[in-house]
């Protein structure tokens, strides 16, 4: 049955030789047309074109065989051939390198894409943007996902405007766009809805926008989309639906406690809000105990304590973070929390015990910086009765043993502004005895307070007559 296989190799060889012959005949036909020995005879258009084609094939054949044929030239032509070698070799290399790059274009661009991803993960925005510039203008290569990556590195590079423009381009109103860009746009709509000065028509337009983008949002966790849906329900006036949707998210993810608490506050459910915050804080605390290096948990926990008004605990969480991380981020987190605490204390009705505490803490951490000067102005340049109350609170902190040099310094300023020059100098002396460097701090703060109290004549005069000279206080004398 398979006997025909025995002569198959011979048949294959015969087929190949036939094919070769046909090919050669075909090309020979072309080359033959280039044989223009009969060029003197007038020819028609077709014949002329045919001849040109043949000449072109001859030219190609000559060009291809040139590297070998050249060695058989003689005389001046051979000399010219040898001199043309640098030209031929280098020109071929130039062509080859261009072709190499052209054929590997996608692979090369992928290399750049990987470089952008790498820069993004290392938060090196400028480098990421520069690497992305190689492909961002290439409409074929820069698809929506890659443009989104570009927007992320632009944010890292500090160009939020560029990033926003790209995201807007990725979340159009007339075509599909990118899910995550629609999510971004939807959250932007929610943010705009929070603004109180919106007219009714604007609100309706924003709600329509929110609806459009929310329908197309994807590429994020379902909980994140559910949050926006809940907010949409809230702005649509479906309050129960908003609460139930948010509650579902909260139950599966306790990091949403703050947002849920904010919604409950809007709905006027303060008791439930407190309960949510407490539950969230407990869960976050548990999470932080199992993973103390987790910054996100720490920030969340501190914020939850702040929302509950438990500033001491929030401070403790931030201080603990500083002890663990020992970096600028943790310092910034601590100071930002303290600032919020000071703002809360300075809000009417003022909590002067807290104000005194913040003043002392800021004097310790920020020395004579603008932050301290601002708090001193807002807490000390006040009516006499309030100043006296603040002094009482500072005295109390003195008794409780809080940072003695800074409390004495604060008291010194209080006394100075209320006109009690003897106590003022005594407190400053005490502060300097505990910590001699306090003198320099006091001098710069006095200058700042003299400048700030210009609008309050009596206090300005009191500050003006306060002169602290180097060496006027003996730190050893107790």
């Amino acid at each position: 049955m398979l006997r025909f296989l025995t002569d198959l190799p011979i048949r294959i060889i015969a087929w190949i030789s036939d094919l070769l012959e046909i090919t050669l005949r075909f090309f020979a036909g072309f080359l033959d047309r280039g044989n223009f020995e009969d060029s003197g005879h007038p020819v028609g258009l077709y014949r002329s074109l045919n001849r040109k084609l043949g000449q072109f094939f001859w030219f190609l054949a000559k060009l291809i065989s040139y590297p070998i044929a050249g060695f058989f030239y003689r005389g001046k032509r051979r000399q010219a051939f040898l001199c043309s070698i640098p030209f031929c070799v280098l020109a071929s290399s130039v062509m080859a390198s261009c072709l190499l790059v052209a054929f590997n274009r996608e692979r090369i661009l992928n290399r750049y894409l990987a470089r952008v991803q790498n820069a993004y993960s290392k938060q090196d925005g400028p480098k990421g943007v520069r690497a992305a510039m190689r492909w961002i203008g290439d409409t074929e290569y820069a698809n929506a996902d890659r443009k989104f990556l570009y927007s992320l590195v632009e944010i890292q590079n500090g160009n939020a405007g560029s990033a926003e423009r790209i995201l807007e381009g990725l979340s159009p109103r007339d075509s599909t766009g990118l899910g995550i860009a629609h999510f971004w746009k939807a959250s932007q709509c929610v943010g705009k809805l929070e603004e109180s000065n919106l007219g009714e028509s604007q609100r309706i337009e924003l709600l329509e926008d929110l609806d459009w983008h929310l329908e197309r949002a994807s590429g994020v966790r379902p909980e994140q989309i559910a949050l926006l849906e809940s907010m949409k329900a809230y702005w649509d006036g479906r309050l129960d639906e908003a609460e139930s949707k948010y509650r579902k998210v909260f139950e599966s993810d306790f990091s949403q406690s703050l947002g849920f608490a904010a919604l409950l506050k809007r709905l006027g459910k303060d008791q439930e809000r407190q309960a949510v915050l407490r539950t969230g804080a407990e869960r976050m605390g548990e999470g932080l105990r199992s993973d103390p290096w987790n910054r996100a948990y720490r920030v969340q926990l501190a914020s939850l304590y702040e929302a509950l008004g438990e500033w001491g605990r929030a401070e403790q969480v931030n201080l603990e973070g500083y002890k663990i991380h020992r970096d600028q981020d943790s310092i910034d987190a601590y100071l930002a929390s303290m600032e919020r605490r000071a703002e809360a204390a300075l809000k009417e009705p003022r909590d002067l015990r807290e104000v005194a505490y913040c003043l002392v803490k800021f004097l310790r951490t920020s020395r004579a910086g603008p932050r301290v000067q601002d708090i001193m102005v807002r807490s000390l340049l006040r009516p006499q009765s309030e100043l006296l109350e603040l002094q009482k609170q500072l005295q109390q902190w003195l008794v409780e043993g809080l940072d003695l040099p800074m409390v004495h310094l604060s008291l010194s300023f209080c006394k100075g502004l209320s006109g009690d020059d003897t106590s003022r100098d005594w407190h400053l002396e005490q502060a300097c005895r505990y910590e001699p460097s306090t003198l320099g701090l006091a001098q710069s703060l006095i200058v700042a307070m003299q400048e700030a109290s210009k609008n309050q004549q009596q206090m300005h005069e009191r500050m003006k007559r306060w002169q602290v000279l180097e060496g006027s206080i003996d730190p050893k004398k107790r």
Partner: protein, 506 residues
């Protein structure tokens, strides 16, 4: 007799254009292009010498005197350029027409061939090459090709880069390779050399065209290779790597010349006869062909046409002299104009904008096609007060003898025009786009350093640029134009010292 009349008329045609020639030479002297001029004279002298002196005239045996029809063709080109110059008020074209006539004159007197006439004409048209308005465009295209090739090499070498139009920047550094991407270096002497070489060898037009193409190819490739080498040296270095640009230019020049010559050898080897014997036969055949080819000298009509055209050129020259078209003098030196621009003082604040010298200017370069050796770039930042959005840059570029297209600089850095260029009282305004988020709006004007505003002359380009990530609104554009007009007015007031010095530059 015909020849004598033609020579006489050619002398008259050239002589009648002396005012325009003088003006052009003064412009070249003002521009300080002495090196270019010296090279040109050298190439011209070489070509005339090789035509006249026997030991050099290798191809004289193959050559035959110019025919009237070629002279007509040549002179008609001169008539065209002369008309263009007179009508467009541009002495460069008149100068070229005079150059063509002068080439014809020399060829007739010395008995040169048509081939040599072509080369002489070409060289004489090349004199004010650097003043060509097309130079930015030509350099831009060539630089783009060179930068693209440099990109290929960098990709092969795995150095990460990006391109802003014609200029390459490295991912590892935060500045652009402005210096190496500022146009094709030494292209003028290279082209002169190619013309002289073609003339010396008596190449016909197709062969010369091939030579020119090979030269441009290697000029672009070598420039690209140098950009790549510089980028490789610069990669991962935080500060700019310094090098001697003079040495680099010499190396590039030598390699381009060598490779062009090698390319010419390729032509000889590829199309040449397969043996010396065959070569001799082909020359004989050519000689026979040449002797058989007859001139049309019997008829008077071509000569009459030629003479009437020459009379026309002479008449145009006379008309220009009568009208005083090119009569203005040039009594200003370049350094005076530069010091006038350098002594410009801008106000520190204008209507809600603070003006201060630019601290970082990435898109600024000194182009190789500049028209003065002391070409400068000044830039100021306009920072808005709280009530305004965005930031602007005021920049002054120059000095130009003939200002190129108003948007040349931005096109160089890859900006694409978004709207049509619009002109309003000499100021051009246009919107630009780049990548997917960069938008810009530019208002620019060529402000004369001195004198007469009706004629081309030394100008500085004063531009107000607003870059943004959002499209610039109509209101912003209007405000932008007003601000630019105020700035230009202030600058013009300070630069208006022409009256004190005397005549204007043209």
């Amino acid at each position: 007799m015909d020849k004598k009349i033609t020579i006489g008329l050619l002398i008259a045609a050239v002589a009648m254009q002396t005012t325009a020639i003088g003006l052009m030479l003064k412009q070249i002297a003002f521009a300080g292009l002495s090196m270019d001029l010296a090279l040109f004279f050298l190439a011209f002298a070489l070509m005339v010498l090789t035509g006249m002196v026997t030991p050099f005239s290798r191809s004289s045996t193959d050559e035959h005197p110019i025919r009237a029809r070629y002279l007509i063709l040549f002179v008609s080109a001169a008539v065209g350029t002369c008309l263009l110059g007179v009508l467009s008020n541009d002495p460069v074209w008149v100068f070229r027409a005079a150059g063509l006539c002068f080439a014809a004159l020399i060829a007739l007197v010395a008995g040169f061939s048509t081939n040599r006439l072509f080369y002489l004409g070409l060289v004489l048209c090349m004199v004010p090459l650097s003043l060509w308005k097309t130079a930015p465009w030509v350099h831009s295209l060539a630089q783009w090709l060179a930068s693209s090739f440099a990109g290929c090499l960098l990709d092969i070498y795995k150095v990460f880069y990006f391109a802003k139009g014609n200029v390459i920047g490295l991912v590892s550094t935060d500045f652009l390779q402005n210096e190496s991407c500022s146009g094709l270096r030494l292209i003028y002497p290279m082209i002169l050399l190619a013309i002289a070489y073609g003339c010396f060898n008596g190449y016909r037009f197709p062969r010369f065209l091939y030579l020119l193409c090979v030269l441009l190819f290697w000029a672009i490739v070598s420039q690209g290779a140098w950009i790549a080498v510089e980028a490789i040296m610069q990669d991962r270095q935080s500060t700019k790597v310094s090098y001697n640009s003079g040495t680099v230019s010499v190396i590039l020049f030598a390699s381009v010349t060598l490779l062009t010559w090698s390319g010419d050898q390729f032509f000889s080897a590829f199309f040449g006869p397969s043996s010396d014997k065959e070569s001799e036969t082909s020359i004989d055949a050519k000689k026979i062909e040449l002797t058989n080819d007859k001139d049309i000298s019997d008829s008077k009509v071509p000569w009459m046409v030629l003479w009437s055209m020459l009379v026309g050129i002479a008449f145009l020259g006379g008309w220009s002299i009568y009208k005083g078209q090119w009569a203005q003098g040039l009594n200003l030196r370049q350094y005076e104009a530069i010091s006038a621009v350098e002594s410009l003082k801008l106000e520190s604040a204008v209507e809600g904008w603070k003006i201060g010298p630019a601290t970082k200017s990435t898109e600024s370069f000194s182009p190789v096609f500049r028209q003065t050796p002391d070409w400068k770039h000044w830039e100021w930042d306009l920072t808005p007060d709280q009530s305004r959005e965005g930031s602007m840059k005021l920049r002054i570029d120059g000095i130009w003898i003939a200002l190129p297209r108003p948007d040349w600089l931005w096109r160089w850095y890859g900006w694409k025009p978004d709207l049509v260029l619009s002109e309003d009282n000499g100021s051009f305004s246009f919107a630009l786009k780049r990548s997917i988020v960069e938008e810009a709006y530019v208002v620019t004007k060529g402000v004369r350093v001195v004198g007469d505003s009706t004629l081309p002359g030394p100008v500085v380009q004063v531009s107000l640029v607003h870059e943004s990530v959002r499209p610039i609104t109509e209101k912003q554009r209007k405000e932008h134009k007003e601000l630019h007009a105020r700035g230009v007015e202030a600058i013009e007031k300070q630069l208006d010292f022409g009256a004190a010095i005397g005549d204007s530059i043209r």
